[in-house]
Symmetry: D2
Subunit: 448 residues, 4 copies
């Protein structure tokens, strides 16, 4: 059976991921993501009403025109998890294919919201949910699609495996190797090891190289939780305002914030549109069991009311968990820093960034400015209470050891980001241009 | 009563700490430390036989000749803890003063070893031990010396407080604010708050500024422990060699290494001269309860035998904990990396650095080289499994809040390292040249 | 005679410089500057109509209320050169003092524009010009004010020297040691050496520490010129668009750009409001002799017309020299990058930044974004064609050697920026708190 | 005709360059270099007596065993210039091939010294010299080898071009684009442009990517010369010791040092083994015309005598130009810094590093230590008086524009160093895996 891999997007950047695997006459597409930075560099662009081709020209979504060169039918579109760089183009591109979107329940809930927000295109694709650990047949030629449970900075993350007669294709984006996650199950290394040894083994492994230049092991979420606990418990006696911010989609972190707020005698409140969206979805689907009295407010008016109540009741009794961890100009925390809300920051109040600064100059500038403005109001900043959701080198080492793939393709980075992975894989016996494929967007690799 | 503070050493560097406080006719000296880097830059220098003045000229030990300008008698020499930059000059300088050395039991045990190693001078000073939380009268004029328990990267650390009629002098070197240390009691913030409010309050606070340019809070040792646990548990299934290194004097870290080794089915062994020295002392004094079968070997021959046994019994059953965390050319780990021991590193073996690289180019070069050599033997490196032992900005903020000192003196850094502290203290209302004293080695400050 | 120095602004930042020297009953004020970054962090603030106290509260201009503590009369306000951090507060503060503004002709022309733009306060101060190398008596007690010629990144820069019976006060902001400037005379080191040795010598030297942490010597403008020549000559054969940007006030750099443009067969055109302002003033006052056909356009409409003409005549015949070297969002180059002008950037067109990025995150973010946008239009970027206008360590070494001052005061930086200077001065025998005064805004130092 | 390119060494590092081109039955080898860092990491290794295979195993010299897979005969070995990373393996590998070494006169002189120093192998290869701008036929099938003059940090550098019926193969290592070199002719861009347009054009271009991640243009040697002049002229009045160091092989820099020494009234003296070797060769071959009285001393005893004479005659009359620009432990400058020579450094003496620190931690550590030791003797350090010898991005842009190659192969870096080049080439329309070949050591690329 012929096996081809089309590296459509996310092979020259972190963002707009999309990869297609053709096995015989059937094609499965993994991810359809958005590169948000390509949108934000322009002033005042609203993507909801934009046409796909314009977004392709901007480099914001994958250029899927190369799909025409793959001779087969798309049988499934498989987002690995609900981050925008993996699902953010789905409402722009999926309608072109007569195929269902298959993902885990939490991811599918977020995909659905993407379709709801879309203004230009309809949502003609069926949504199918499948749990981690389960499999299904795709197409009419017996290809099996399996979801292996992985751990990432969002719940519901899986690594899809396409079982072909020539061996398994393991699409390894995005994960870290977490044996003690705060929510959900540990990464299923046992299953990866089995896949590496059963049948024809692994034909090809596509790897998340975000942190491939970083030594050692990405710590577990348990470490971030301990770090957060240490900070929050140290503030137990503080009788003024404490505000926290984190990635809205990082449900386990939000959970820890909520728990520790309770522990130190404060009522947590989630504020901001995306805070409500992600935590609301997680709660509705039963992935998290927040306290009954936990407030979540996404709309301006309800947020305003919430802040008013906090100020009236005494802000020393609350922990607002808000958007704005990167200092985004219009996010909640930045507005608080500019004094645009009715939450008053006083001298000595604490602001917790349970996130790290995404290392890009525009972003660093905005974050710096937000911290400066917070400082001008007297706030004390605790930052970097965080661990990454992506494997470092020793995780890559273990994955190669578990899967023993015939071919590896580094992804989810640009060339300089692949360097650490190439060095590692070369040490493990892989050779560039033979079984180690450093490639770019828009190529088709023939494996069999 | 006249109060003067002589900033003798450690006000232009991290290293060779020494400060004297004169209250009326009595003087108390805090710390007599060594700046090891000033020794190591010269080839083949042995300090044991050197004269004080030569070491002073090299900038290696404090220039205590300014003591002649203080009109009073030294009543006590008080090392705060057992790190070399606080006790390393004691065998060179203490004999000049007719005064006892007063410190906690663990610190005193290490001071005693300093005197034992000394070849040039005798040890005429009496050694007095006092536990954290206790006090004693020094001199004949009613001055009270109190030891407040603090948390640092070594056990037995205290902050000495000299109670004078004009208020307390709090000598704040070295500490972090740890509420969940692995060994010993949490930092005694309650007592600091009392001292800040009782009697005349705090006349002067001398602060450990090592991390004063770093935002946020230094995590607790519990965080480092969780991080270490995460790494070690992730290696539970590895059936080859694992080697760890850390600061020999960091007994709580060594304890965690020993415990987790047992947890993952390996026998820990401590190897290297300083490993034996510090852990041996901690065990003898009852500060730690190591497993009965824990081997500690300091001499070359016993180390060789130990390695032989490890290789014979199967290195997959052991965790050697060795010296060499900074890549020091003659330390155990570097020798292993060069193939100079009979421990064979194989492809895939793991080396854990539970330490961070001290940021100085010579040091970074050596550490880099050690890692390169380890890599050439196939070893996989996990580094930075560590948290600092020094306060960051929010710790400084809390200390100022607790003590409310009339005067503050930043110490344990060079000028650029004081910058963050000066900014913080200025925000809290202190003013340079009035009550915030940025100074240098060799000055005398008259407070009353 | 009593001598006091009030360190009013610019001792905790680069920006809002102001220092007052009282000698007996007479006071001379050096510089009244603006810290623009404190304005820009707020959205949409126009300083022209703002009250001084509001600007003081923002930290934008010096807090001169400490002047009340100096017992004497202000006899002169002396801006050293025309950069905003030295003259930008003059229209807000000078009217409070019954004293003339004394500066060199070019500086005075720029001060006059400051007064013209002011909307809140009048301009009651007399403007007196004095050339480098000249002196005048200030006040009625025989104090002599001398202007020593120095070299900086703007023409007309001097170091004022106040000769008192107790020795000279040399105000050393801002300069580099340039023996081959492109415009004007070399730095007058001979005169500095004389001042160091005549009469009572130098009582106090206030030093420009901008680059005090940088090793070696700041290169001459001749080096930047050679670098610029190398870039521009290498583009001689390019037949598309070339655009350059630099500091508008950097007349010698603009001169080099104009000359080399001619050399490679292009017509230079200066575009942007501040380009016209500074170059126009320099030409009117005869400090530079631009080609007769050099266009300078500051207003939107004339700039638009100019771009139209360039596009019609063929952009390969022109070198637009525009504002926007830091990627400022509303500057000309950024507008070109966003496609908001009618100058079309084509694939391969060259953009020359004859400036370095000011190292502050907000700024770095904006500059990065400007370059990204230029790149999206196909432009090729040449950056850092520049040398700094401020002394490095070896310049400081030479100044100390020339002046041999009794007291030194580092200025024009924050604490961490003083570190290199303190180390250098300590090596030269100065001692903190005795004759080396690291201070902050708002202090008064009594020298005699 | 079949065309194959074997990327033997220097495609995963800067160092041990070696590339073979097979055109039909004939093979030409470009460069045989040494990666010195792979030797130095081991203690006390002398390469002179070592076998090739041991050096290959260490990663020190190219693994040329892949040559067996090329079906043809080696007709020429062509070193591009005399740096060790291009000729340092020639005495270990060339004897295996029955082919002459063809290079420019200066390069050949250095190759000859390599053969002379070799202790293990004989030198059976004929040495043929060819000047830049000339051509010769290699093999019996009409292949033409041309030397195009380029500019680099050593004299005698060329880019060899192999003219085949399928187009030219241009081997582009190492160069910068210098139109105003201090010695020799400018880079021959005219010829490159011709080659790009004549006959079949350029089939393949192999590019020097050392600086491919750096924006803009590498300045000409004229800029480094101006910078050096600025520093040295500024020291004209200094009446103590001045010492300079630079790359021994950088004859144009040495020339500038010699000239400016004369200009400021000092007698230059070249000291150190490699100083004598390179400058001696350059002078003998007539590439430089040093003053008659210029001393060059390579042996310990003559250096000692020279230093003695300098001290006796007054060191203010001399400029020793010595080895040790990277702080190498055994080089002359480091020995001076340790006080191991009889040249006394006094307080205020100047040390000029006309070189930049090679960015590798071991090296940075050594250099730092050398500077510290110099500082301990009172010396003042001027560093980075230098420009690189390698193209930056705009040079790469121009080369692509001139040659318009069908295929490009980035070389002389590791993967992360290629990133900037891949981005640039992709912008110019090249595509990974099609005509842009990012590869590794030990691959064979079939172009036709």
């Amino acid at each position: 059976m012929e096996i081809e891999i089309a590296t459509i997007g996310g092979y020259e950047e972190v963002g707009r991921q999309m990869t297609a695997v053709r096995a015989g006459e059937d094609i499965v597409v993994f991810d359809m993501g958005l590169n948000l930075s390509k949108v934000l560099i322009h002033d005042n662009i609203q993507t909801e009403g934009m046409h796909s081709l314009d977004l392709i020209d901007m480099g914001a979504i994958p250029d899927d025109r190369i799909m025409a060169d793959l001779e087969g039918d798309v049988q499934a579109i498989v987002p690995t998890h609900g981050h925008l760089d993996h699902i953010g183009a789905i409402s722009k591109l999926a309608h072109r294919y007569d195929a269902p979107v298959v993902s885990t329940p939490f991811t599918n809930a977020l995909v659905e919201e993407e379709f709801d927000d879309e203004e230009k295109f309809g949502d003609s694709n069926e949504l199918i949910t499948m749990d981690p650990g389960e499999s299904m047949i795709v197409g009419d030629h017996g290809l099996e699609l399996e979801f292996v449970n992985v751990t990432h900075s969002i719940i519901g993350a899986i690594n899809p495996v396409l079982h072909t007669p020539e061996g398994a294709i393991v699409y390894g984006l995005d994960k870290r190797m977490d044996h003690s996650p705060v929510l959900g199950d540990p990464i299923d290394m046992k299953r990866f090891r089995e896949i590496g040894r059963e049948g024809e083994g692994v034909l090809c492994y596509i790897e998340d190289c975000t942190n491939a230049n970083k030594q050692g092991r990405t710590p577990s979420e348990a470490v971030a939780r301990e770090q957060l606990k240490d900070v929050m418990y140290s503030l137990e006696d503080y009788d003024g305002g404490i505000v926290a911010t984190t990635f809205s989609s990082h449900i386990s972190r939000v959970t820890s914030l909520v728990e520790f707020a309770k522990d130190i005698g404060r009522q947590p409140v989630l504020l901001g549109r995306s805070m409500e969206k992600y935590s609301g979805a997680a709660e509705r689907l039963g992935f998290v069991d927040f306290p009954d009295d936990l407030g979540m407010f996404g709309y301006r008016r309800s947020i305003d009311q919430s802040f008013e109540r906090i100020m009236n009741d005494g802000k020393e009794n609350f922990l607002p968990v808000v958007t704005g961890h990167q200092g985004e100009p219009r996010a909640m925390l930045t507005r608080m820093a500019r004094g645009e809300t009715n939450y008053d920051l006083d001298d000595g109040d604490k602001v917790l960034f349970s996130a790290r600064v995404i290392p890009e100059p525009t972003n660093e500038g905005q974050r710096y400015q937000a911290e400066k403005l917070l400082g001008m109001q007297g706030a004390r900043v605790y930052s970097d209470i965080h661990v990454s959701g992506h494997l470092r080198q020793e995780g890559h080492y273990e994955m190669l050891d578990a899967l023993q793939p015939q071919h590896v393709i580094p992804a989810h980075q640009e060339m300089s980001g692949f360097a650490g992975y190439v060095e590692l894989a070369s040490d493990r016996g892989y050779t560039m241009d033979r079984d180690l494929h450093v490639t770019s967007n828009g190529n088709i690799l023939q494996l069999v």
